[in-house]
């Protein structure tokens, strides 16, 4: 277990100190993008396509422009004059900013109305007349590759069909051979539907260009302000926006979860609009626009798991069809088009695996965001964890026992996975044992047997996942060529208080507290004396931002190392003050002392003061340090989740009775915050497991594009979560930490699905795709009855 090195007042690692950022939010003083109001503020509203696929015959602006207060209607033709009507996606595809001739998905931006008032802008948007010629949309991704399917992207040179790319990893021939000769092979097509991050704050921006200074300032709901600044400079450099004149400010963010990484077309239109008009232009997405544009998941995975007859796993194969909508706008590292999907071999020790994926275009919104997971880890974990349970059911073995018998053992770390990852550390057995003990697994097994004897449906579901987070080492990880390091810059003031700035951006994770705690741990300066600043590209050091659980693994490490640089400098100053040589100085949290004479000491505050007032000869004045951290490896948080459910046979109603989550995220900075992150992630895990999924009809219309029919769980649907920890520090991270916030989103859906499927297994049901709704359960039960 982790032992705190600092006092509660200093508040270093392991202390559940209360959050420093809370006060402004509690008093209504948060500053979110929609709260910004600039002199001469204008408002922008997008006109969007009612069709999934249509030619635009004409756009008539006249009636809109006749409305008092409407200043401009911007179309794709207008942007084309500046060559701004298309933009690159983060994954080297192209996306329309505004269309000149064709719309590719329902709700695609068609043109923008700029007005002096929000209401007038909406009036204007309604008055714009667009003449469309609808075409037959491709909605089913399996039909996108048919010979007679229309070519959706003729604009792309060399594009002959609707396939975006094929990707594969592993040894296909050997894996096929092992599967062909195995005692037992279980197969399933598993679908993870389109979902949306649905942060309670939607996306938006307030863009302001000053024609005199030629400076563009954009308040933006973004998780990655620096990356966006560079993208804007790349996209709009040719019209004269150069990077030093672009300032991206990511103020308070009302939840990100991956949905605030991409560049949305309306951001670019707002920037173009302020550039042309010279007044600030604000665009705030409404909820329907938010839910219908952008998405996560949408993987159809054909899985095969092979094992010996007593359940020793031998090989795993998964072939995936990925529906990307009309463009691949995933925000993945460029060498990883499918993200970290190859973590799909899971927490188990076996030799052979093969994964392949075909990505296709359809007439749906683009996205493919890493929704609270490290680029497709959720899909990967769902595949393997469902298949392991399926294997257990097939050979009639307790799914916990099957996992114990196949786990990678503690001594095997670092473990080289069959698809090429080097897992850093873990103790999977201890973690699952802890979860089983906490929930009372054996008792539930007995209760289940009794209930089954009475004809009642009760299920127990397990998920023992391994994640791969903290992208990443620069030799492998980049976005648009920019290496995925992150940064920290610390300034200790003469009075011993400090300001630290980071290239990441909190969206509720509590960085203002946890980063201060890391510095308190390393420097002994109380966390209350340290201000944390993020999100303003004019002041923060360059970094790739916060997503994929990368803040603690990268920027957290940068903070620790920058602090250690300061400590080294401080040692020289302390030696000077104590009139001994540097070798005679020792460090203990918060102070330097003379070896063998601990009464002769100087505090870090004394040293900071001297750095400005009594500088040793030859030493550079000041007490500041910066570090850009390039991680040597990723970190591999893991956990064991167990869920108990009851299902009512007559109605299909599902009651989640218990849910226990044991996480191993290495050393913990703030247990209170980690627990809170786990709670939140678990609710975002039950959401797709039981409630959420974006549905389309045959014409490509979204059927549930509002919060009335897209069911984000309330406090009633969300169970009372029970959490706990095991701690296996990361051996390569300076703090031994791993990152945590995404584990629950990744681990909860398979645990819940496994529990529900286990409950209905006595009726002969072997698999259900998420979201597993009562209606779906009921239908499956009826289908079984009809068979019998």
């Amino acid at each position: 277990m982790f032992k705190c090195k600092t006092s509660a007042e200093v508040g270093g690692m392991g202390h559940s100190v209360k959050r420093k950022e809370d006060a402004r939010f509690l008093h209504g003083k948060g500053n979110y993008v929609d709260d910004t109001k600039l002199p001469g503020q204008l408002h922008m509203v997008m006109v969007r396509s009612p069709y999934a696929y249509a030619k635009i015959k004409s756009i008539n602006k006249e009636k809109a422009l006749a409305i008092d207060g409407v200043l401009a209607v911007i179309t794709g033709e207008d942007l084309a004059q500046y060559n701004l009507h298309w933009m690159p996606t983060l994954l080297s595809d192209t996306q329309m900013v505004l269309p000149t001739d064709t719309v590719m998905h329902q709700s695609q931006e068609v043109c923008a109305v700029i007005a002096t008032d929000r209401y007038v802008a909406v009036d204007g948007a309604e008055a714009v007349e667009v003449d469309y010629e609808p075409m037959q949309a491709i909605v089913d991704p399996f039909k996108a590759l048919d010979d007679d399917a229309p070519l959706l992207r003729p604009d792309k040179e060399g594009q002959e069909d609707n396939q975006i790319y094929h990707w594969e990893r592993g040894d296909r021939a050997k894996t096929d051979e092992v599967i062909a000769n195995a005692d037992v092979v279980v197969k399933e097509r598993i679908y993870l539907p389109r979902i949306h991050v649905a942060s309670i704050e939607t996306c938006g921006c307030n863009a302001s260009y000053d024609k005199d200074t030629q400076k563009l300032t954009v308040y933006l709901t973004t998780q990655a302000p620096h990356a966006i600044r560079t993208v804007v400079a790349l996209v709009a450099g040719h019209v004269g926006l150069s990077e030093e004149k672009i300032r991206i400010i990511s103020p308070d963010i009302g939840g990100g979860f991956g949905g605030k990484v991409p560049v949305y077309p309306a951001y670019v239109v707002a920037i173009a609009a302020t550039f042309l008009i010279g007044k600030p232009v604000k665009w705030i997405e409404d909820r329907s626009e938010n839910l219908v544009n952008g998405f996560a998941r949408d993987y159809h995975m054909d899985c095969e798991l092979a094992a010996t007859k007593d359940g020793k796993i031998q090989a795993f194969k998964v072939s995936t069809l990925a529906d990307h909508g009309y463009t691949d706008s995933s925000a993945n590292p460029s060498k990883y088009p499918t993200g970290m999907f190859s973590i799909c071999t899971g927490s188990y020790d076996y030799e052979h695996a093969f994964a392949e994926l075909d990505a296709v275009y359809t007439n749906k919104a683009p996205g493919g965001v890493a929704y609270r997971c490290s680029f497709r880890v959720t899909e990967a974990v769902h595949a393997i964890e469902r298949m392991v349970d399926k294997l257990a059911a097939e050979i009639d073995k307790d799914p916990a026992l099957l996992r114990f018998e196949n786990f990678i053992k503690k001594e095997q770390f670092p473990y080289e996975s069959p698809l090429g990852w080097s897992y850093d550390s873990g103790d999977y057995k201890a973690t699952l044992e802890k979860a089983m003990e906490m929930i009372g697994y054996d008792d539930y097994k007995k209760e289940q047997a009794e209930k089954r004897a009475q004809g009642k449906l009760m299920g127990i579901g397990i998920c023992t996942f391994t994640e791969v987070v903290g992208a990443g080492p620069s030799k492998d990880f980049d976005i648009l060529g920019i290496a995925m390091f992150d940064s920290a810059e610390i300034r200790v003031h003469p009075t011993g208080k400090a300001l630290a700035r980071f290239g990441t951006k909190s969206q509720g994770q509590g960085h203002e507290t946890t980063y201060a705690q890391i510095l308190a741990e390393e420097l002994g300066i109380p966390y209350t004396d340290i201000e944390i600043d993020e999100g303003d590209t004019d002041t923060a050091p360059y970094g790739l931002g916060t997503y994929a659980s990368r803040s603690t693994p990268t920027a957290g490490a940068a903070a620790a190392i920058a602090a250690r640089k300061l400590r080294d400098k401080g040692k020289k100053i302390a030696a000077h003050l104590l009139e001994v040589s540097e070798e005679d100085i020792e460090w203990e949290v918060g102070k330097y002392f003379v070896k063998g004479a601990p009464e002769k000491s100087k505090t870090i505050q004394d040293v900071a003061f001297a750095a400005y007032t009594n500088i040793p000869p030859g030493l550079e004045p000041g007490f500041e340090a910066t570090h850009y951290y390039d991680p040597p490896n990723l970190t591999f948080p893991n956990g064991a989740y167990i869920c108990v459910v009851e299902v009512e046979e007559e109605t299909g109603a599902i009651d989640v009775k218990r849910f226990v989550a044991i996480d191993d995220c290495g050393n913990i900075i703030n247990p209170m915050i980690v627990e809170g992150q786990v709670h939140g992630g678990l609710t975002q895990g039950i959401a797709p497991a039981m409630y959420e999924g974006i549905e389309y009809d045959d014409e490509g219309n979204v059927l549930n594009g509002t919060l009335m029919d897209y069911l984000v769980p309330t406090a009633v649907e969300s169970p009372h979560w029970e959490t706990g920890h095991t701690i296996t520090p990361s051996p390569h991270h300076p703090l031994g930490a791993k990152g945590v916030a995404e584990s629950p989103t990744v681990g909860a859906p398979p645990a819940i699905a496994n529990a529900i499927i286990d409950a209905v297994a006595p009726l002969g049901i072997k698999h259900l795709d998420i979201p597993i709704t009562p209606a779906k359960v009921w239908e499956a039960i009826q289908a079984q009855k009809a068979k019998a």
């Binding site: 008093h27 709260d35 309670i200 009302g254 909820r287 809170g676 939140g680 919060l707 406090a715 009633v716």
Partner: protein
């Protein structure tokens, strides 16, 4: 567009303004009065980010016309406690880590004020149903429930102390 004069009390201050008949109360508060603690998270009255107190009852200000609030007494998150102090709910959300991004928080707190007024000693289940008109995407609700429980206890103590 027809204009109407409205007068109301907001956080103890009387306000008179000329407004369009279609102006939603949430926009009046945010844009006209520049009090941005009341948030907007949806367009279908589902999220509760816009919850305020109107004549003592929690109301979703995104589904209320400003003209209808003529003569009303309104409290927003900014006016819940005197500057520099915390209402027991604000204190409890801080103590129990009942907020992450803070976007749902003002609405959650205003809703909970009403909940505790009508049910000073709610069970966990009553709290969960009581805040089910407010969505939070970050916290998983466990700690929001705990926050409301802590505030209920504190407020009961305060009440006892005053009788």
């Amino acid at each position: 567009m027809a204009k109407h004069e409205v007068t109301m009390t907001i956080n103890g201050q009387s306000v008179t303004a000329e407004v369009d008949s279609r102006l939603l109360l949430v926009h009046f508060i945010r844009e006209n009065l520049d009090m941005t603690g009341t948030h907007i998270g949806c367009d279908t009255s589902n999220c509760g980010a816009c919850t305020i107190l109107l004549d003592g009852k929690s109301v979703k200000a995104c589904t209320y016309l400003t003209v209808r609030a003529d003569g009303a007494e309104i409290t927003t998150i900014e006016g819940l406690a005197p500057e520099g102090t915390n209402h027991p709910l604000q204190q409890a959300f801080h103590d129990q880590h009942g907020l992450h991004c803070g976007f749902c928080t003002p609405g959650m707190i205003m809703r909970s004020v009403d909940l505790l007024k009508n049910n000073p000693n709610p069970t966990e289940e009553e709290i969960r149903w009581g805040i089910s008109g407010n969505l939070c995407r970050c916290t998983g609700y466990n700690n929001i429930v705990k926050s409301v429980q802590q505030a209920a206890k504190e407020m009961a103590k305060e009440k006892e102390a005053t009788v």
